[in-house]
């Protein structure tokens, strides 16, 4: 952790150089990511305020490469705002956000961040309802996104295979040609996770994946998320404590915009401050 913050500090110093070197809008690839120090995401001292209300208050958080991290916290703790900062939807008033050693998230906009290897799954499943399941994955597939290229683009055998594999992984192989709007709630969530995977992200942000799922669907989702970590890092924001217990190795508790506690699920659940925040009043 110590080493990481040193690293991020030197990163901050180099920032002006990097802005000079990289033309805005030039394509960033996931390959540009340098997570050689074992940490993939550095959030330091992030503050976001909306009309004086501090949604995030000097939040500092590090996520390791390959880690599956659960973030919990009461409503208004800043979980969604944190995701918004990472994906470029919200600009913090203060602080720094680095993806690996070299990518300054605060210098990029939403599509650039998506292309640099951060995928986000929203709370409500937002798949493209009028497109087929296959087309949804095709849309999300990593690759050239320029209008001119896509006018003439044909799927290569390799790309088709990668879509088929993802269909298999998220358990939607037999629904490939179905309209995404006709899927069940749980299937839409898996499709969305599949779409994230097609972008070959190095970091997955998953917002309340099991809200509204049946117990069987929840169980399958837990398996799916566990199988995804390792090769990539996964951050899961979730309310359902049983679910968190079933997947979490490290849990971070947010409260009023900053980190209240961090540790294994048992440590966190026995922490008196956490108990107070959750059950206190």
């Amino acid at each position: 952790m110590n080493q990481a913050s040193v690293r991020a500090t030197t990163g901050r110093l180099q920032q002006p150089y990097r802005r000079l070197l990289r033309r805005r809008g030039s394509a960033l690839r996931a390959d540009d990511l340098d997570a050689s120090h074992g940490t993939i995401l550095y959030l330091e001292d992030i503050t976001v305020s909306f009309d004086g209300f501090k949604a995030l208050n000097a939040l500092t958080l590090y996520v390791d490469a390959g880690e599956l991290r659960c973030i919990i916290g009461p409503n208004g703790a800043g979980k969604t705002t944190m995701m918004d900062v990472i994906t470029g939807k919200t600009r913090p008033d203060h602080g720094s956000a680095w993806f690996g050693q070299t990518i300054d998230l605060l210098a990029l906009d939403e599509p650039e961040i998506a292309q640099s290897g951060i995928g986000r799954k929203f709370q409500r499943p937002t798949v493209f309802e009028n497109h087929s399941v296959f087309e949804n994955l095709e849309l999300a597939m990593a690759g050239d996104r320029s209008p001119w290229k896509l006018l003439a683009a044909k799927l290569s055998g390799e790309q088709r295979d990668s879509i088929e594999q993802t269909l298999q992984l998220v358990g939607l192989k037999d629904r490939s040609g179905a309209r995404a709007g006709s899927l069940s709630h749980g299937q839409k969530q898996w499709l969305e996770i599949g779409m994230l995977l097609m972008q070959r992200p190095r970091l997955l942000l998953v917002d309340e994946p099991v809200a509204g799922m049946t117990p069987q669907e929840t169980e399958r989702t837990a398996e799916l998320l566990l199988s995804l970590a390792g090769e990539r890092s996964v951050i899961v924001v979730e309310h359902d404590m049983d679910f968190v217990r079933s997947i979490a190795r490290t849990v971070t508790v947010l409260h009023e915009g900053s980190v209240l506690a961090e540790g294994t699920i048992d440590q966190v659940q026995n922490d008196p401050r956490v108990v107070e925040v959750y059950l206190g009043e």
Binding site: F128, H131, R145, R179, A180
Partner: protein
């Protein structure tokens, strides 16, 4: 307005991929081909005394419908496929028309009322001594043709660049497209603009050496319009069925989601908008020699709204529906404005209400539903 905005996003009967079957498209090509074969035959080969003879007036009318249909698919491409409800597309149509009109004005030469070899009649009338700089080059078709594409294309590029980059969407975008065409109308009404002001450009004699008053030229213009419609349809169909087209439809359904998976939404919208504007410009350039006049009235916002109604009546997001709507509504207009001229605008309004409330997918959607239920 809000209701019609939503129409662009309503559920569709089949996933986007299913349009690969494109039954309606085959019907469209067949009808177009039949018209292209029969119309010249019935006009030129059948004697006037025969009941089967097609009058030149009708040929020109059909040619005009062809150019309207091309305008309609241009609007369907941006509205039906990308959810951009443009209420100013006749601005591009009129610009293409003016470019063609300028060429034909220069072709008049010394045959004008005032007999000036260089200046068009309206300039002589205004006592102008020299041709304004932007009229130079229009004596050659090789110059006018790219202008027909460039004038609407560049306007769409500039307008779209600002509008889409600033993420103006929905009703606000519709309103500024209206403002765009309205501003152009006011500008073109001014004599100082040098486009004939109020009267516009007219009194055309010939096009590429063909006398515009001859039947064979009229038939030729009809054929070129039909050809342009066929090619325009094929191009739009190709775009819609490509991966580009699927991205565009994703933007229509969930714009911010599309942005989050890494697409530069504004570039896609801009590309599509410019292409559509160029198509509209070509339609305008084909329209003007057939009706024989282009004036600022073509920029009137009501015209653009009418195009949207054609598309809504025929059925959005199908392309052939736009063609069907354009032809049907204009046929009704031709008939009604002759029989009961004062009723037309009310009829148009009523048509719009009826379609919005009862046929949200237009005639094509209704037919599909019927056929689907029948089988």
């Amino acid at each position: 307005m809000i209701r019609i905005m939503r129409l662009g996003q309503v559920r569709h009967a089949a996933p986007a991929a299913a349009s690969g079957g494109d039954f309606g498209g085959r019907v469209f090509y067949a009808v177009l081909l039949a018209a292209a074969l029969l119309v010249p035959l019935l006009n030129l080969a059948v004697p006037e005394s025969s009941a089967l003879h097609l009058s030149t007036y009708t040929v020109t009318l059909l040619g005009k419908y062809m150019s309207y249909a091309l305008l309609a698919i241009a609007v369907d491409l941006v509205w039906g496929y990308c959810g951009i409800l443009t209420l100013g597309h006749t601005a591009f149509f009129a610009l293409g028309g003016y470019a063609m009109g300028m060429y034909m004005m220069r072709q008049i030469g010394s045959r004008g009322v005032y007999g000036d070899p260089l200046l068009p009649d309206f300039m002589v009338f205004l006592n102008w001594k020299a041709l304004p700089w932007y009229w130079h080059g229009f004596d050659s078709f090789a110059f006018a043709l790219p202008m027909i594409l460039l004038a609407p294309g560049l306007l769409a590029l500039a307008f779209g660049w600002f509008a889409f980059r600033s993420r103006v969407t929905g009703v606000y975008l519709s309103i500024i497209t209206q403002a765009l065409t309205y501003a152009l109308m006011l500008a073109f009404f001014r004599n100082e603009m040098g486009f004939g002001g109020n009267n516009g450009l007219t009194d055309f004699k010939d096009l590429l050496g063909f006398d515009l008053h001859r039947d064979s030229t009229r038939v030729g213009l009809f054929l070129v319009s039909a050809g342009a419609l066929g090619l325009g349809y094929a191009a739009c169909r190709h775009i819609a069925a490509s991966r580009f087209g699927r991205v565009v439809q994703a933007i229509r359904d969930a714009e911010s989601r599309t942005r989050f998976i890494g697409y530069r939404v504004e570039n896609y919208k801009l590309w599509l908008f410019v292409f559509s504007a160029v198509l509209a410009g070509i339609a305008g350039a084909l329209y003007v020699p057939q009706v024989g006049i282009i004036n600022p009235g073509e920029f009137a916002p009501i015209n653009s709204i009418e195009v949207v109604i054609w598309v809504a009546v025929g059925g959005r997001n199908t392309l052939y529906g736009a063609v069907l709507g354009a032809v049907l509504v204009n046929f009704a207009k031709t008939w009604l404005t002759a029989a009961l001229p004062e009723v037309w605008l009310y009829a148009l309004g009523a048509l719009f209400v009826v379609v919005t409330v009862f046929l949200p997918q237009g005639i094509v959607g209704f037919l599909r539903q019927r056929l689907g239920a029948g089988s």
